[in-house]
């Protein structure tokens, strides 16, 4: 697996003055962890912790990332880390923040899509409403990956999983919109295929006091049935087809990120994104057309919101 380190196209100072062309050398996820080959969630976490730095307390809900830490007495985490039960990641983060009151110390909660959009949504909603000063990261592999790819509320329309063997009939839950409805000070979407964009968003989030939310799309090679070296590439296809939008929202104002602005001007067909994944191989022509129409509607919506 090749990690994308520096992309010249991203070399710029963002609108808040953060340099985005540097990546810290320090590693907070150590080698030898037990993730699957090509796991993009671990790439995402690697960049998130690099951006956060050493003064960080981490919580990890029940999700793939817990398994990836390794088996006691080993851990791949070089930051103080508290593994939590499935439904309570955000609530435990409230507790950690109540004990760790120094604003200079970050509290970052990590959970998967199942632990965020389904079983953990109540705790997440509560922590945001209470203005817990933390960053909540949902890495989204669009299914219950830890238990072997069952459908979650975040599985997209048409995807086959072990509990939707003939394709999911329902749409993906729009967690970003749900979180946005809490009037959260900062939230963003990201994808480790764009690591500079991801790190910049983490730094921006941690500079703000109060609850912050990051929704990260992380292609899962075994779950999406792609080869282990294609995770980063498929993440890019998700953005370029406008199946997934990269944006930030601050105080209810939406800022589309550059990769998605480019994609919206000339999106690739959704088929190019779906057809490379085994999980969509049973999708009918009719459903493929329907899915493209849904994407088109989203593009039209965001064009209007962002004036693009």
């Amino acid at each position: 697996m090749v990690l994308v380190f520096v992309m010249s196209a991203d070399k710029f100072k963002d609108r808040h003055g953060f340099w985005t062309n540097t990546i810290a050398r320090e590693e907070y996820i150590l080698k030898g962890n037990s993730s699957c080959p090509g796991c993009t969630a671990m790439i995402a976490l690697r960049h998130i912790f690099k951006a956060a730095g050493p003064d960080t307390f981490v919580l990890v809900g029940a999700c793939c990332a817990v398994v990836c830490e390794g088996v006691y007495p080993n851990t791949c985490m070089a930051l103080p880390t508290l593994d939590t039960a499935f439904a309570c990641t955000a609530a435990m983060a409230s507790g950690v923040r109540a004990a760790v009151t120094d604003r200079g110390i970050n509290v970052i909660a990590i959970a998967g899509d199942g632990g965020t959009v389904d079983i953990g949504i109540q705790a997440l909603s509560g922590a945001i409403e209470r203005n817990t000063d933390f960053l909540y990261v949902c890495y989204d592999n669009e299914a219950y990956g830890n238990t072997g790819m069952q459908r979650s509320g975040s599985t997209p329309f048409g995807a086959s999983t072990t509990t939707t063997p003939f394709g999911k009939k329902e749409d993906k839950k729009d967690i970003a919109a749900i979180v946005g409805a809490h009037n959260i000070p900062y939230m963003a979407t990201a994808c480790p295929s764009y690591p500079m964009d991801l790190e910049r968003k983490v730094k921006r989030a941690l500079s703000i006091e109060g609850p912050k939310f990051l929704h990260v799309l992380t292609p899962c090679p075994p779950g999406w049935r792609i080869s282990a070296d294609k995770g980063v590439e498929v993440g890019r296809l998700a953005v370029r087809s406008c199946s997934f939008f990269l944006y930030e929202m601050e105080n209810r104002e939406l800022f589309m990120s550059k990769p998605s602005i480019d994609a919206m001007k000339n999106p690739i067909p959704l088929r190019d994104y779906l057809s490379v994944q085994g999980r969509f191989s049973r999708m009918s022509e009719e459903d493929m057309k329907l899915a493209q129409e849904k994407v088109n509607a989203n593009i039209a919506y965001y064009r209007e919101v962002c004036g693009i």
């Binding site: 817990v66 390794g70 088996v71 006691y72 593994d83 039960a85 439904a87 409230s94 507790g95 004990a99």
Partner: protein
Amino acid sequence: MMAECVEEEETSVYVTGCEAAARAVIIAKPSVVAAYPITPQTEIVEKLSLFIGEGRHDCQFIAVESEHSALSACIGAASCGARTFTATSSHGLLYMAEMLYWAAIARLPIVMANANRALASGWNIWADHIDSLSQRDAGWIQFYTSTVQEVYDTILIAFRVAENEGVMLPVMVNLDGFLLTHINQPLRLVDETLYQEEFLDEINVPHALNLDSPHTLGTLISPSDNYRVQHDRKLGMERAKDVIKEAERDFLRLFGREYHPVMEYRSDDAEVLLLGMGTLAKEAEDAVDMMRFRGIKAGLLRLRQIRPFPDDEIIDAISRSPAEKLVIIDRDYSPGSGGILSQEVKTRLYDAGIVKEIVNVIAGVGGQDVSAEDMMEMVELERGEHWWGI
């Protein structure tokens, strides 16, 4: 010339069990309190919000959105070394069930007040011990109290027991719903400075997360290591037996009120022994007095803790008494098995090779009213299980 008003520090008040609990918590100075309201515990949460809001003590009150989150928030804070407290009851306790086990296995010294209350279906908010007894295997130390004063004193003792380095286990202080939570009784207050300086040390959670030596709490664990962790928790619970007695001795020395794992009442020469927990067993003192007045040599054993079970104390008390008949009153029931307290006691008697006539009375469940006169009739019952009032 202005008259000078000198405020005398109050040493005695007249309050409910809920307020007594909240007052005790403030004296122990936790840095994080997370709780969710539920009848009949709500007044504890309300009073703590008020006391913290008034600035009586610098503490973070986390108004969570569920009991599951209440205990989770305490676990998060305690994992970082903070002294924490929560309170709940009945359905709230069972909603926490997953995290009850979590807190005990993670060896976090969280203190909780639980207002004992029945469980639905069929909403019932009255006293019943099944909520906490259903969680007796979670690894929490469990106290049962019988007066407003005892609620207050036991919470003060609980923090010291939980935070003992050899114990490091969460403690649940149970108080009967309404019978203690909503009843006003006189309460003698402790000298706060004396408590903070002589009775309770600074909290030190040895495995707390910190930035200086980052470590991970709660990773995957192999069967053999999990086995060791569970065995270690057992050792902590066993050490708690002596730690509780030592704390109760110090409490007597400093504050003058006496507590033991088993509270004996006129049991030394008793021919029949009543045995129970909570307010029902306090009421039984009246039954004993009345029976003695009528010439029946009755006595009483009131258990103050069911975990760790006071094996030695209960066997010692029963052995010292000439009573051949034990009337065990259970404010709980395990369907298909029997009264839980009764089973617990019978196990210890069997281990000690003691044979007694055991009468198991299921009484007071769902808040059923049981009087001292009722208990006087219970001693007439024969061996076996009886449902009072049916």
